[in-house]
């Protein structure tokens, strides 16, 4: 098989394994849906001030939770599944076959990207049907652009993060310890206007808030711009940093045993 056909081959089986793994399905698919339903139901009638304008909370949470779901289909899912595959020897074993290692990684990133796209569709549909937040069709190119850059960047960060995770058991705690607080601080869980500005400045160091703002601008028309290149640039730089770390520190052999 040629390289690209082999990526497709790898991707097919990765997808099968993904949908059969209850942990993947819960954290990547069910969890964001649950959050959207909970946040939308509790805070739905309030108004939020963001990016200098007033919007209702549902309009706020739909792009916020889509942001979260893109990060969990890429960074979170890759970090967890790659560490498990590394520790049980699957990565090492794959290295012993003629399959080039880039094919394996590309298959996994493809898997993440497709899942992220699917989550965009699923959450946009729920947002439209349940909360009346209509999908901005005219903004599709911008939304896909932001999604692609974010998914690529957070995929690289997830692969890089595996190098810092020593065992299978440490994967979930480390990933959640990094992501959960940042979701809060970056305005993904708690609307912007309720966060002290000190916290926002702190969150500004990390890529999640920048990605959220870029996605928000693309998804909610009426702001100053459809694509905030400044925010996207920060996300891309983080992704590039992740890529360099991943190339340097990613390992194929188990750390334990």
């Amino acid at each position: 098989m040629s390289g690209l056909a082999l990526v497709g081959h790898q991707f097919r089986y990765d997808q099968k394994a993904f949908w059969r793994n209850p942990a993947s399905v819960f954290f990547t698919v069910m969890f964001p849906v649950l959050l959207l339903v909970i946040f939308g139901s509790i805070f739905g009638s309030d108004n939020v001030e963001i990016r200098g304008g007033q919007i209702d909370t549902d309009t706020y949470y739909v792009p916020a939770i889509i942001t979260l779901s893109i990060i969990s289909s890429t960074m979170q899912s890759l970090a967890m599944t790659l560490v498990i595959a590394r520790e049980d020897g699957r990565l090492k074993r794959g290295r012993g076959t003629p399959m080039p290692s880039w094919v394996f990684i590309a298959g996994r990133i493809g898997n993440s990207l497709v899942t992220a796209l699917m989550m965009l569709v699923l959450l946009a549909v729920i947002g439209g049907l349940v909360y009346g937040v209509h999908y901005p069709w005219g903004r599709t190119p911008e939304i896909l652009l932001v999604l692609a850059i974010g998914a690529a960047a957070f995929s690289c960060l997830g692969i890089a993060l595996t190098a810092a995770i020593p065992t299978e058991d440490a994967a979930a705690p480390i990933v959640n310890f990094l992501l959960l607080p940042l979701y809060f601080l970056s305005g993904v869980f708690i609307p912007d206007d309720q966060l002290p500005s000190g916290i926002i400045h702190f969150a500004d160091v990390f890529p999640i808030r920048h990605f959220f703002l870029a996605f928000f601008d693309a998804y909610v028309p009426g702001g100053a711009h459809a694509v905030d290149w400044g925010q996207l640039l920060v996300v891309a730089i983080w992704g590039l940093g992740g890529l360099l770390l991943a190339v340097r520190f990613f390992r194929w052999t188990p750390r334990s045993g």
Binding site: L6, Y13, A85, D88, G89, R90, G96, T253
Partner: protein, 277 residues
């Protein structure tokens, strides 16, 4: 195919012939896995020369990997893929794979073909692991401790699978810490201990050692235990019994024992470990 001289732990020399089952036998920590990982191309060596299928494993590329199959010491399966899917996935990596159905039959998993790997027993998972190494139709197969931790019937089944590969003309490099496994499967056995090769030959050759030394035990007239090791037990017994008869004494508890192959193995490996300290 030859490995020339490889310096794994303390400098070992071995050569494996095309089409043979070669057993690399030794206790845990003897350097088996280090050596086999050098041969598989996973580990770089500090010195020495290694050739596997005519290439240096450290430098070898995809074309070389297309010709080998690897079964690691522990199972490495995707728990959520079925037997058939796992084999299809791996078949796609190789240029001339064996048919998936044929491979399933080869490892005796016909009835489990659509079962997910996580639902298989330990022995079945191991056979799937071997199947994933076979589906690429490799010339050379590495099996690292294929039956460690198995119950006797699972081990028997795994042995049948491995013995069946001989008929396919595959070269097999088997590491094990079970003497009986090496004896049962291998054409040639090399015993490693403490990073040194302590014995090499066919299972029959190693069996010769067992004929070489016998132990005669008895209690003498004062009731003291006497133990004599001899390579010529017939003449030694004659000498002892003649002397006893002449002196009018008994040889209480007289027995002649030969060490089993297991004893030979334990003896060989314990000596080398002692020497290594």
């Amino acid at each position: 195919m030859s490995y020339g001289e490889t310096e794994a732990v303390r400098g070992i020399d071995l050569e494996v012939q095309t089409g043979e089952i070669f057993a690399f036998l030794g206790p845990n920590g003897a350097g088996k896995t280090t050596t086999v990982e050098i041969l598989e191309g996973y580990r770089s060596r500090t010195g020495g020369e290694v050739r596997v299928l005519g290439e240096d494993p450290e430098q070898a590329g995809r074309a070389w990997r297309d010709r080998i199959g690897i079964v690691l010491q522990s199972n490495s399966l995707d728990p959520y893929l079925t037997v058939r899917e796992s084999l299809e996935l791996y078949a796609g990596y190789f240029s001339r794979p064996r048919s998936v159905e044929e491979t399933i039959a080869l490892v005796g998993l016909e009835e489990k073909a659509d079962e997910r790997a996580r639902r298989l027993s330990g022995g079945q998972q191991r056979r799937l692991d071997v199947g994933m190494a076979l589906v690429g139709d490799p010339e050379l197969l590495f099996l690292d401790e294929p039956t460690t931790g198995f119950d006797p019937s699972a081990r028997r089944q795994a042995w049948d699978v491995i013995a069946g590969l001989r008929e396919l003309g595959k070269t097999i490099f088997l590491t094990t810490h079970y003497m009986d496994e090496a004896q049962r499967l291998a054409d040639r056995v090399t015993i490693i201990s403490g990073g040194l090769i302590v014995a090499a030959g066919t299972p029959e050759d190693l069996g010769e050692r067992e004929k070489a030394a016998a132990t005669i035990r008895y209690r003498d007239a004062r009731g003291e235990e006497v133990s004599i090791e001899t390579v010529d037990p017939v003449r030694e017994l004659h000498r002892l019994t003649t002397a006893a008869l002449e002196a009018g004494e008994e040889l209480d508890g007289l027995e002649v024992t030969r060490p089993s192959l297991e004893d030979v193995y334990l003896d060989l490996t314990s000596t080398a470990e002692g020497a290594g300290e």
